[in-house]
Symmetry: C2
Subunit: 216 residues, 2 copies
Amino acid sequence: MTPTERTRLRREHQRGSYDPQSIYDILDATTQCSVGYTIDGKPYVTPTFHWREGNHVYWHGSSASRMLRKATDAEVCLSVQIIDGYVMARSAFHHSANYRSATLFGRAFKVPEEEKAARLDAFVEHLWPGRTEVLRPMQPQEIKATTILGLEITEASAKARSGPPIDDDADYGLPIWAGIIPMTQVVGAPIADPRNLPDLAAPDHIINFTPDRTSQ
Amino acid sequence: MTPTERTRLRREHQRGSYDPQSIYDILDATTQCSVGYTIDGKPYVTPTFHWREGNHVYWHGSSASRMLRKATDAEVCLSVQIIDGYVMARSAFHHSANYRSATLFGRAFKVPEEEKAARLDAFVEHLWPGRTEVLRPMQPQEIKATTILGLEITEASAKARSGPPIDDDADYGLPIWAGIIPMTQVVGAPIADPRNLPDLAAPDHIINFTPDRTSQ
Ligand SMILES: Cc1cc2nc3c(=O)[nH]c(=O)nc-3n(C[C@H](O)[C@H](O)[C@H](O)COP(=O)(O)OP(=O)(O)OC[C@H]3O[C@@H](n4cnc5c(N)ncnc54)[C@H](O)[C@@H]3O)c2cc1C
Ligand SMILES: Cc1cc2nc3c(=O)[nH]c(=O)nc-3n(C[C@H](O)[C@H](O)[C@H](O)COP(=O)(O)OP(=O)(O)OC[C@H]3O[C@@H](n4cnc5c(N)ncnc54)[C@H](O)[C@@H]3O)c2cc1C
Ligand code: HEM
Ligand code: HEM
């Protein structure tokens, strides 16, 4: 992808990349994003889930959602961030973080009525392969109540840091503990709904769940 | 806090709250936020760290940072989100997430030169109590190169979901596994910089680190 005036990294630009695969990998590694949009020229940010299909990213909610209404056919900025660790240096100044993040810009569009069911199925199937088959089928009024926005991935940047702290040369001689405190998001053991029917085992897609779809 | 036109929750508003302590607790439970701002009327979102002191939230970076320059004396939206679990229902429609999130609006201000060192010390000390004492002291040119923005917490909302899925009455009779897949951010074992001086033990503030400052 060609960097634009909006996506060209100035600060720590050596940590940036613009190739689609790097951006896909970061988008696919987390379900959570922050959608930025404006109302009357003022900035708003809403946390929401996203999923990727090919060169598009999607998110969903109520057809009455203010965010979805204001973002339709309007400029948005979709941001994802993953923290991999705290970078502990020998000076306060050189403390940092290891992270992966992606920033996407563009005009969000409304997914047409007749494609919504397929997009929602993909959302569920990407996270829990096989689940759409076992669920009570989606109802027309449920699909109707739902709006899905899409964004083509045409103007985007990735930025990532990894590795040990980078200290001033002189500071490496100081007896100060430096290094990385790793951070990870972990999936806990599933908690069955007390109202589940008796003797219902959790299916594989629950037991093997990971929100990281990078390897799929 | 009184809800305003910007912060009054419409969707699932029973999950909202406006009391300062609820908002403080969510801000303090994570270091990561997303700052929304505008350039030429268009939305931008930048992931960054924040910390809270009393009724103010702060974030920092290069004095040359575009985000910090554009957000100074301008309207911003600061959003934090924490995912606690995936809510697995008996229909696709009722899938959801357990989460805690906070949204703050207001005009960001630049922390005056003479207060910057104290704010940066507080940032470090909140996360790693005692660390400022052991670090190579902050240098005047490091403080000069750094801009800190502040936001008074006057217009803000919290929203949180917890508990089991909420399904349609009829669907509770179906043999479909429903429940919660818990999600947590965990701190890994510290990784010493290969360039640390020999026999340097990790101090307590490294070993006992948690990014959650709720209980402090
Ligand atoms: C978990 C986390 C914590 C962070 N904490 C801090 C912090 O405390 N202080 C700090 O200064 N910075 C922090 N950053 C980095 C921050 O996101 C910005 O990259 C940095 O502040 C420079 O901002 P800028 O507006 O000057 O960027 P510029 O380089 O001017 O931005 C120009 C364009 O580059 C791209 N870009 C910039 N940053 C990113 C990014 N992170 N990911 C993808 N594309 C990007 C965007 O397209 C943006 O429009 C953090 C990042 C993450 C993921
Ligand atoms: C991890 C996570 C995942 C989510 N995934 C989805 C999703 O996939 N689909 C979906 O529809 N929603 C999702 N949400 C909820 C989403 O953030 C919004 O609350 C919801 O979409 C309603 O948006 P709205 O613009 O209609 O809100 P409105 O109720 O119209 O917003 C009005 C005001 O209420 C406040 N507010 C709204 N949402 C929040 C919030 N989350 N936290 C704090 N204050 C808030 C803000 O001040 C906002 O300006 C998720 C939230 C989290 C934290
Ligand atoms: C709690 C300790 C701190 C942490 C976790 C931290 C974290 C970060 C992170 C993640 C970045 C972004 C780097 C990037 O763009 O990849 C950053 C940038 C920056 N930090 Fe900090 N920081 C800390 C303390 C400080 C202190 C004490 C100072 C000043 C004395 C400082 C000054 C800066 C500056 C100037 C930048 C901008 C770098 C650039 O864009 O060129 N930081 N910090
Ligand atoms: C992968 C499965 C899904 C997940 C994880 C998920 C998650 C969420 C979350 C977290 C919310 C926000 C609730 C809140 O505001 O507190 C939401 C809202 C919503 N979802 Fe989903 N969802 C999923 C699938 C679906 C499907 C398949 C549909 C439609 C058939 C749907 C329709 C809606 C609607 C209409 C809302 C808005 C609720 C409201 O604001 O009143 N979701 N979803």
